[in-house]
């Protein structure tokens, strides 16, 4: 049998590499701008399209799906071809995948600042873009499985298992978390409400971290680290155990984002237990990576790619130890909603995803351009300034998190809150926020230096777009193959492998989600909780458009420190009409669940116009455009019909007369504001936002009044 000659497609790898660097710089720059906005709100340039609430999702989407996403595809397209000893299945599909993914990112860049968002964290993009994501993901899947099927290597290396698990799980997560009813071309309502929506969202959110930020990177680690160190992985058996245990356990851990909320207690406990168990496979992977360098540590001293890999793996180890610790209820009670979580996330993102990406770029670009790296000194500078950047970012954020978390819980000896004003705790941590932006700027500087270094490397070499290779074609299996061990057989059957991975992740999914989604007694209803009025519904959608949920939670946990500060703790039945839920994950400002009736309409008007008028020192941006912009009431009917389809009990035909009720309520608020000498027309957006804010958390009080 003669060896077959074929060519690796390096051009697609190069394209994804360029996209990684460009989007990385943009995503990190946006992150730096919003970090500065948290102590200098005027950095939004008094523009609604660049306020923190609207741009924060742009930062997260840009770094997760644009920077990390393109890096994943770069790494997969390079390593898959070599591990399979085959060119990618289809050049056309590779191109569709590349340009389709960039189109999705550009759509995000346009729609998110416009306020077109579902408000589901890390899944903010509206339904037409969701469909586009599905199509592009399927294209990627066909191309990947096509390559695996036409391979010249019988057995599938562990890196490819991680790629397969990534593909199948992200597909499931994206579809389930995007089940929504469109009410217009760029507006939809989530099918699930309240507690159910929260569970689905954090099952998705946590596993987006698991299967987008972790498993593909572990796959790349298992390929690129042995290549860089020129030695096999420390223990292949450990990598198998790592793979199966990780994908089995990870899928269950989502509820640790919802501790002390109204999610059923058993689901919270399940999330905690599996989060703790997650330490074992995570550290198994980290140790396997670090021990691969056993006996080769001298290489780390000289090779910048290995330096990045070592710090990246260490950051992975730190983040995956801290994650389970944060899921302990006692720790979570302090850390949740604070900057501690921001520090935790960024140790993973900057250290693990960032540094692994940089290592791969430094290793891969000179190879596909058949040249040497332009400047090793510049790469070394990048490593050190990047490491310093992580430290300058993470340490102040940990400090801010501990400080604010503890201040919010502190009582005086007399038994009253020591810091009753939330703002006092915010102002205390502003110096840490300044330090954090310095850390971010250092990190970004390193990335810009890397971009220049890689550009010069590319210029001095020449891209080998089609790299010639040779391998023997796959022979027919020998007769004894049927007696092979079970796992060995699985390693050469990609479709069966995908099905096995799917079954493993679906076990946790079904057991965790189904009881809450299907057993109505898990979500007790409250008679006094009524659907939102049309004006409140429109106000809620403006709240979503402005991204208020990025800074304000709407769930009061059952702690004395929270019930004293905000009011009665949240009940599951209060959220049954909340499509989507708006509990939030970070309190840059106070919780708003019991905001209704706390202040007068004029207070809210003045506060939205200029927060510093009512709360001196506030870091919230002005929302003065709400005063001048007219509320779009042409959508009211469609929104009511959408809600009716989801089971919200508006009377039949109400969609036709909803605007009459809307006008009546709006006039009432405008008249009330006029009494405080505030002249505003009832058709302005601010009236709807005030109506919504004044409704928050009041149903339960109404119920109590009725009972009394």
């Amino acid at each position: 049998m003669q060896p077959e000659k074929f060519y690796y497609d390096n051009k697609i790898v190069r394209n994804f590499g360029i996209a990684t660097v460009i989007w990385g710089i943009i995503g990190m720059l946006v992150g730096l701008i919003i970090a500065i906005q948290l102590y200098k709100p005027e950095m939004n340039m008094h523009n609604q399209y660049t306020t923190f609430g609207r741009v924060r999702p742009l930062h997260t989407n840009a770094v997760i799906f644009a920077f990390v996403g393109n890096a994943i595809f770069m790494g997969i397209y390079y390593s898959l071809q070599r591990l399979m000893k085959a060119r990618m299945f289809s050049d056309v599909l590779s191109k569709i995948h590349f340009w389709g993914w960039q189109l999705i990112i550009v759509s995000a860049v346009i729609t998110l600042p416009l306020g077109l968002t579902t408000s589901h964290e890390y899944a903010e993009l509206e339904w037409p873009i969701d469909i586009l994501i599905t199509i592009v993901w399927v294209v990627f899947g066909i191309n990947m499985f096509g390559t695996i099927i036409k391979r010249r290597e019988r057995h599938i290396y562990v890196a490819v298992w991680f790629y397969i698990a990534t593909f199948v799980t992200i597909a499931v997560l994206h579809i389930v978390n995007s089940v929504e009813i469109p009410v217009s071309f760029f507006k939809s309502y989530m099918v699930f409400a309240g507690v159910q929506d929260a569970l689905v969202q954090w099952w998705y959110g946590h596993n987006a971290v698991a299967f987008f930020l972790t498993t593909p990177y572990l796959g790349m680690m298992y390929y690129f680290l042995p290549k860089m160190a020129n030695r096999p992985i420390y223990s292949y058996k450990l990598s198998i155990l790592h793979f199966w245990a990780l994908i089995f356990i990870y899928i269950w851990a989502g509820p640790h984002h919802l501790l002390y909320t109204t999610l059923p207690g058993w689901a919270q406990s399940l999330g905690v237990v599996f989060s703790i168990m997650l330490i074992a496979p995570s550290w198994g992977g980290m140790i396997n990576g670090l021990l691969t360098l056993r006996g080769a540590w001298d290489k780390v001293r000289d090779d910048v790619t290995l330096k990045f890999m070592v710090v990246g793996l260490t950051a992975y180890g730190m983040a995956t130890f801290e994650g389970p610790m944060l899921s302990l209820k006692q720790v979570n009670a302090i850390g949740h909603f604070t900057d501690w979580i921001i520090a935790h996330v960024h140790v993973g993102a900057l250290g693990w995803n960032g540094f692994l990406t940089f290592a791969i770029l430094y290793w891969l670009v000179p190879r596909i351009y058949k040249t040497e790296l332009y400047s090793k000194k510049a790469a070394s500078f990048h490593f050190w300034i990047g490491t310093l950047g992580i430290l300058f970012y993470a340490i102040p954020m940990y400090w801010a998190g501990f400080t604010q978390g503890l201040m919010l819980k502190e009582f005086t000896p007399e038994g009253i809150l020591k810091y009753p004003s939330f703002l006092e705790t915010t102002m205390r941590i502003l110096p840490m926020h300044v330090m954090r932006s310095v850390g971010g700027a250092l990190y970004l500087t390193g990335v810009i230096v890397m971009a220049y270094n890689l550009y010069k490397t590319a210029v001095q070499g020449k891209l080998v777009a089609n790299e010639a290779a040779e391998a023997m074609p796959l022979e027919k299996l020998p007769p004894h193959a049927s007696t092979e061990r079970w796992h060995r057989r699985l390693e050469r059957k990609p479709v069966l492998f995908m099905v096995a991975s799917l079954i493993v992740i679906l076990i946790g999914t079904f057991i965790e989600l189904m009881p809450t989604l299907t057993i109505s007694s898990n979500i007790p209803t409250i008679a006094s909780v009524k659907p939102y009025t049309p004006l409140e519904l429109q106000g809620r959608d403006l709240y979503i458009r402005e991204g208020c949920v990025n800074c304000h939670s709407q769930t009061v946990r059952p702690f004395r420190s929270e019930t004293e500060r905000y009011g009665e703790y949240s009940k599951a039945g209060e959220f049954v009409y909340d499509h989507p839920f708006l509990w939030g994950s970070k309190r840059t400002g106070p919780d708003l669940q019991r905001e209704g009736g706390k202040y007068g309409n004029s207070w809210h008007y003045n506060h939205l116009m200029d927060p510093r008028l009512m709360s001196p020192g506030s870091i919230m941006p002005n929302y003065d455009w709400l005063i001048t912009q007219k509320l779009d009431t042409t959508t009211t009917g469609a929104k009511i019909r959408g809600m009716q389809k989801l089971g919200v009990p508006y009377p039949a035909g109400y969609d036709k007369i909803a605007n009459e009720d809307l006008d009546k309520q709006a006039k009432g608020i405008a008249d009330n504001l006029a009494k405080d000498h505030i002249k505003v027309k009832s058709n302005k957006e601010i009236v709807a936002v005030i109506a919504y804010l004044q409704r928050l958390g009041t149903d339960i009080k109404a119920g109590k009044t009725a009972n009394n």
Partner: protein
């Protein structure tokens, strides 16, 4: 002890215990399969990334 334990399980806690049981079974099965793997095979698998079949490398390797 086991009886006392089962008597005190309330309603939904069975989901938690059932989940842990499934994982335990799964983990044991994977571990057993792993221990049964031949060293020759794992050595072969772990060497796959180091095999470089680019034409340039093959030329270098030819005598």
């Amino acid at each position: 002890m086991f009886r006392q334990f089962t008597e005190h399980i309330s309603g939904n806690q069975v989901y938690l215990l059932f989940s842990l049981f499934i994982f335990l079974v799964f983990f044991i099965v994977v571990t057993v399969l792993l221990l049964m793997q031949r060293k020759q095979h794992t050595d072969y698998m772990s060497d796959i990334p180091l095999q470089d079949c680019t034409e340039e490398n093959i030329k270098l390797l030819k005598p």
